[in-house]
Symmetry: D2
C-alpha cells in the first residue's frame, strides 16, 4: 500500500522539491497526491498541472481540504518551515522537512515539543546520512574497528556563491543570503549543519563547544558565506569543521575523516560509494557498496550490486524509505520513535539550530569557545 503525501513548496524554480519527489517515487512507497507548491496561486497551479495532482495556494487550505494525507513534505525556505510543520502535526499528519529545521533556535525548541507531544513520525532530510557508506562508517566506528575516535575533520566546500549572484536574481542564492528568509546563519546554516550533523552521526559523539571564524567574504553579504570551527565533543574528541560557499571552483565536496587510535576512515561525497579505511598497520581498504562484506545497515540502504553507482537521489530515497517505515509502524500502532528507523529527526534538527546559534555567537565574539545550548 502506497502512502499518500502532499508537498509544501517545490514550485517553479525550486531545486530541492523535484529531488524530494523523485526520492519519494523511486521505491514506490509514496504517492504524491497534492501540493501547496507556491504561495502564488498561479504558480502552485502550474506545478500541480505539470505533475498531474491537485494544487492549493496555501498549506492550511491543502491540509484542510485533504484530510486523508499520510504525510507532508516541506521544501520551502527556512522561514517557512515551522508554520507548516506545526499545522501538519496538529492535524495528525506525519512530516518530512528540509534542513536547517527552522528559522530560529526558539522555533526549533517549540517544534521539538510539538513533535514529542504528537507522537508522529518526523524526518529531517540530512541527505548525507542516507548514503550507505556513511552508514558503514557509523557502523564501523560503533563496532570499535579503529578504537575510540580522537579526531574529526569535516569539510563542506562549495563555490557557487563566490560571486554575488543573488544580486543578479538567482533564486537559490537570493533566499540563502537573506537573513529575513535564511535566519542567522548563511553557509553555516545551509551546509554547516550538514557537516555538523554528519560528524555526530558517524561518531555517535555530540559537539559540546565550538570556536568559530565566520566570514562574509563577498562584499555586501549580510550573512556568513565562509565558516570554520574547532569542535569539542562530549567524548573528548576534537575536530575541525569547514563550511564555505566561496571556494571558487568547488562543487559540493563534502568530506569527513575520523581517526581513532588504530586507524581512520575517509568518505567523500564525490565518490560516495567508497569508504576508505586506513588502518595503522596495513593497506588502506576501499569499502564498496553492494558488496557482501559490508554491514546490514549499508546493505539495507543499497539497491544495486557492487560496481553500479548510486547517488544523491538514492541517498535521499533512503530517508524517505525510513520515513515510510515509521509511518507504517505508526499505523500499526508500533511506532517507537525515529531513531529505530535511522533517519534524522527533530532532535538532530534542534541540535543543528543550536549549532548555528553557537557558531554565530562565537564568530561575533572573535573565536571565543561557545557552548552548544539546546
Amino acid at each position: 500500500m502506497k502512502l499518500r503525501y502532499g508537498m509544501i513548496g517545490g514550485g517553479p524554480g525550486s531545486f530541492i522539491g523535484a529531488i524530494h519527489r523523485k526520492a519519494a517515487a523511486m521505491d514506490a512507497r509514496f504517492d504524491l497526491v497534492c501540493g501547496a507548491f507556491s504561495s502564488d496561486a498561479a504558480k502552485s497551479r502550474a506545478t500541480g498541472a505539470e505533475l498531474g495532482v491537485k494544487a492549493y495556494a496555501s498549506f492550511t487550505e491543502m491540509l484542510d481540504a485533504e484530510p486523508d494525507l499520510d504525510a507532508v513534505s516541506i521544501v520551502t525556505p527556512n522561514h517557512v518551515h515551522f508554520a507548516p510543520a506545526k499545522a501538519a502535526l496538529e492535524r495528525g499528519v506525519h512530516v518530512i522537512l528540509d534542513k536547517p529545521m527552522t528559522f530560529t533556535l526558539q522555533e526549533a525548541r517549540d517544534l521539538k515539543s510539538l513533535v514529542d507531544r504528537s507522537g508522529l513520525a518526523f524526518a529531517l532530510t540530512h541527505t548525507y546520512a542516507g548514503y550507505p557508506m556513511v552508514k558503514e562508517m557509523r557502523h564501523r566506528v560503533a563496532a570499535g574497528e579503529i578504537g575510540p575516535v580522537r579526531k574529526v575533520f569535516v569539510e563542506y566546500p562549495q563555490g557557487w556563491l563566490s560571486a554575488s549572484i543573488e544580486a543578479e536574481g538567482q533564486k537559490q542564492a537570493g533566499w540563502r543570503t537573506d537573513p529575513a528568509r535564511s535566519g542567522s546563519g548563511g553557509a553555516v546554516g545551509d551546509i554547516g549543519t550538514h557537516a555538523a550533523h554528519l560528524s555526530e552521526y558517524v561518531t555517535g559523539a555530540r559537539i559540546t563547544q565550538v570556536c568559530a571564524m565566520m566570514n562574509a567574504v563577498v562584499p555586501g553579504r549580510a550573512l556568513d558565506d565562509d565558516a570554520a570551527a574547532f569542535l569539542r565533543f562530549d567524548t573528548g574528541a576534537t575536530g575541525v569543521l569547514v563550511a564555505t560557499q566561496i571556494a571558487s571552483g568547488e562543487q559540493n565536496a563534502l568530506r569527513i575523516r575520523v581517526y581513532g587510535t588504530t586507524g581512520g576512515y575517509d568518505w567523500c561525497h564525490a565518490d560516495p560509494n567508497t569508504l576508505i579505511h586506513k588502518p595503522v598497520d596495513g593497506p588502506m581498504r576501499l569499502i564498496h557498496t553492494g558488496t557482501g562484506y559490508v554491514s546490514e545497515a549499508a546493505k539495507a540502504a543499497t539497491r544495486l550490486p557492487a560496481g553500479h553507482p548510486e547517488g544523491f537521489i538514492e541517498a535521499f530515497a533512503n530517508l524517505y524509505a525510513g520515513f515510510a517505515d515509521a509511518i507504517v509502524d505508526h499505523k500499526a500502532g508500533r511506532f517507537r520513535g525515529m531513531p529505530a528507523h535511522d533517519v534524522p529527526s527533530v532532535e538532530e534538527g534542534l541540535r543543528g539550530m543550536a549549532f548555528v546559534d553557537a557558531m554565530v555567537a562565537s564568530g561575533r565574539a572573535d573565536t571565543t569557545w561557545t557552548d552548544i545550548r539546546l
Copy 2:
C-alpha cells in the same frame, strides 16, 4: 498523464526487474499496473502482491486481459525475449526490452521486421547510453573537438563469474552460463554487447569486422566467460575490446577511451559523472555533469546540480524517459522513430546480435577476421 505499463519477468530473485521499476518510477512518467512476473503462477502472484499490482502467470494472459496498456517492460532471460516482444507488438503495445535483444541472430532480424512494420516505440536498455557523460562524449566526438577518431579502447571487466557459482545455484549465473537460455554468447552477449554498443554510440562509427579470442576459463563452462577482440570500424578507425567475467576482484568496470588526431576522451563507469578530455596540447579536463558548460544532450539527461552524484538508476531512467517521450509522440501522431529520442532500439539490438555471432565465429576460427553480418 502517466503511462501505464506491465512487466514481463522481474519476479523473485530477479536483479534487473527491480531496477526497471525504480527507473520507470523516478521521473513519474510511468505507472506499473500489472505483471507476468514469472511463469510460475505462485511466484508471479507473490511479486504482484508485494508491488500492489495485478499478476498474471503468462504474458499472453496479461496482454489479453489488459488491453489498455501503453507499454510492456520485458526483463526475462534472453531466450524469452522474442516471444513476448512479438506478442506485445502485435497487440499495438510499445516495448522496452533488456539486452542482448534476442536468443539468436535470426530472431533479431525477425524482431526488427516486426518493429519496423508496427511503427511502435521500441527501446533496448543499453543502460550506459543513458549516462550524461557518455552523451557528452558522443556530442563532443560529433562536434569534432578531437578530430576524426582513430582508435577506440573499450573494456568491460567483471569478476563475479571467476568461480563456478552456477554450480552452486546462483540464479543470475545459472542462465547466463547456459546456452539454452543465454544463446551462443556468454560474456560476449551479456556485457560484450554493451561494450560494442558503447563504442558505436560514442563514435558514430560502425564495427564492420572483429578478430576475437574467446575463452571459457572456468572449467565446465559451455559458453565464453572471457572475450577480447580487435575491431575495425567503417570509418577506418580500429579498436580493442575486452569483455570478461573472470577478472577476479573487478566489479563492473566498464571503460571507454577514444582517440582522435588532437585529443582523447576517457569515461569510466566507476566515476560516471566525469568525462576526461585529454587534448594533445593542454591540461586534461574533467568534464562534470550538472555544470553550465556541457552539451544540451548531457543537460537533458541530468537531474541535479554539479557535485550531486547520479548513478545507474538515473541512467536507466533516462532510457525510460526517452521511451516515454516516444510513446507520447506516438499518441500524438508525431512519432518519427527512436533515433529522435536518443534511446537504443531494434537497429542497435540487431547489430548487437550480429556482433555476438561474429565474435563466436571468429573465436571458433582461431581469430580470423570476421564480418559483422546483419
Copy 3:
C-alpha cells in the same frame, strides 16, 4: 665543477641525512667529502666508512680540518641547528639546513643576523617548495589566473605518532616529542612549519595572526602532536591550517588549496606531479609536470617528460640545485641573495619559528588570536 660539501648529522638511524645525500648527488652538482655524522665518534666513523668519506666527531673539528669546503649540510635535530650553522657561517662556509630552523625564536633572529652579515648562501629545506607543481601554483597565483586569493586551506595529516612509539625507543619519534631537543613545538614545528611556509610560498601573502587549537593527544606527550589554526594573511585572505601526527593511518598527506575570486588550485603530495585548477566557469584542469604548457619555473624544476613521475628526492634536489646556483654566483661575485634562486632561506626560517611561537602562545591562551612577531 662540483661543489664540495660536508655533512653535519646524518649518522646511523638518520632518516633525512640519506635523503640530503641522494638529493645532492642526483644532479652532480655536489661532492660529499666529509662529515661529522654523529657526536659519537665511532658512529660518525662508521657512516664515513660506509660512504667512503672522512668522518669527524664534531662539526668544529671538521670545519677546522677542512678549510676548502664550499658548504655544509646540517641534518641534526633542532637543538643542534644553530651552533653548527653559526660555526660554518663564521668560517665563510655556505649552509643548507633542515627545518624548523632553530631551537628557539631568539636563535632564529640571531641566525638571521649572522646570515645577513655574512653575505653567504643559506638554504632551508622546506622540501615541498621544490616540487614543480607547487612552483606552478605560485606562478599562476602571481599571474592572477584565479584573481586575488581569498581563502587558503592547508593540511598536513600524518599518523605515525598515533601511538607512543617514543616510549619504545623509536629514534625519530624520540627527539621530535622531546622539548629538550625539538623546542616548544611538536607537530607544529615538525610539519606545521611546512604547511605555514607552503601557504605563504604559493600565495605570496604573509600570515599575520593565528588562532590555534593545540593538543597533546597521546597520553604522556609533553609537546603538541595535533594542531590546527585559523590564519589571517596580510592581504586580507584567511585560512585554516591543520598539522597533526595522530591521524592514524595517514602517511604524509600534505595538501594545499587556495581559492581566488574566479577559481581555485589544489595540490596534494600524494600526487605531486599534478596541480588541479578549478575555474568557476569551466572544467577542472589537471596541470601536469613535464608538459609544454607549464611555467618556466615549473620546467626548470623538472627533469623528465610528462608521464614520468618525479618525487620527494627530486623536489629536494631542486633545493640543492638552487643552493648550488647561489654558491656558484657567490664564487663569481654576483650573488644577490637567495630569493633570486627560489630556495627558502633564513627569512622563511625566522618566519617559521615566529609561527611556532605564536601557535604555542595562542594554544595556551585558549585560541586567542595571536600576532606573528619576527
Copy 4:
C-alpha cells in the same frame, strides 16, 4: 668504493642519457669518468665539458683509452647497441644497455652468446621492473595470494607520436620512426617490449604466442605506431597487450593488471607507489611503498618512508643498484648471474627482440597466431 663507468651516447638532445646519469649518481655507487657521448666529436666534447669528464668521439677510442672502466652505459639508438656492447664485453667491461636490446633478433642471439661466454654483468634497462610496487606484484603472484594467474591485461598508451613530429625534426621521434635506426618494430619495439617484459616479470610466465594487429596510423610512417596483441603464456594464461603512440593526449600511461582465481592486481605508472590488490571476497587494498607490510623485495627498492613519492629516476636507480651489486660480486669472484640481482638482462633482451619479430610477423600475416622464437 665507487664504480667507474663511461657512457656511450647521451649527448646533446638525448633524453635517456641524462636519466642514466642521475640514476647512477643517486645512490653514490658509480662515478661517471668519461663518455663517447656522440659520434660527432664536437658534440661529444661539449657534453663532456658540461659534465666535467673526458669525452671521446667513438666508443672504441674510449674503451681503448680507458682500460680501468668497470662498466659502460649504452644509451644510443637501437642500431648502435650491439657494436658497443660487443666491444665492451670483449674488453671485460660490464655493460648496462637501453632497450630494445638490439637492432635485429639475430644481433640479440649473438649478444646473448657473447654475454654468456664473457661471464660479465649485463643489465637491460626495463625501467618498470625497478619500481617497488612492480616487485611487490611479482612477489605476491609468486606467493600465490591470488591463485594461478589466468588473465593479463597490459597496456602502454602514449600520445606523443599522434602527429608526424618526425617530419618537423624532433630528434626522439626521428630515429624511433626510422627503420634504419629503430629496427623492424616502431611502437612495439619502443614500448611494446616494456609491456611484454612487464607481463612476464610480474607473472613469472613466458609468452609463447602472439596474435597481433599492427598499424601505422599516422600517414607516412614506415613502422607501426599502434600495436595490440592477444597473448598466450606457457602457463595457459592468456592476455591482451596494447602499445600505442597515437593515443592523443596520453602521456606515459603504462598499466598492468593480472587476475588469478581469487583476486587481481592493478598497477599504473601514473601512481607508481600504489599497488591495488582486488580480492574476490573483500575490500580492495592499496599497497603502498615505504610501509612495514610489503615484501623484502619492495623494501630493498625503496628509499623513503610511506607517503614520500619515489618516481622514474628512483626506479632506474634500482636497476643501477642491482648492476652495481653484480659488479661488486664479480670483483669478489662470487658473481652467479644477473637473476640473483633482480635486474633484466640479456635473456630478457633476447625475449624482447623475439617478441618484436613475432608481432611484426603476425601483423603482416593479418593476425595469425605466431610463435615466439628465441
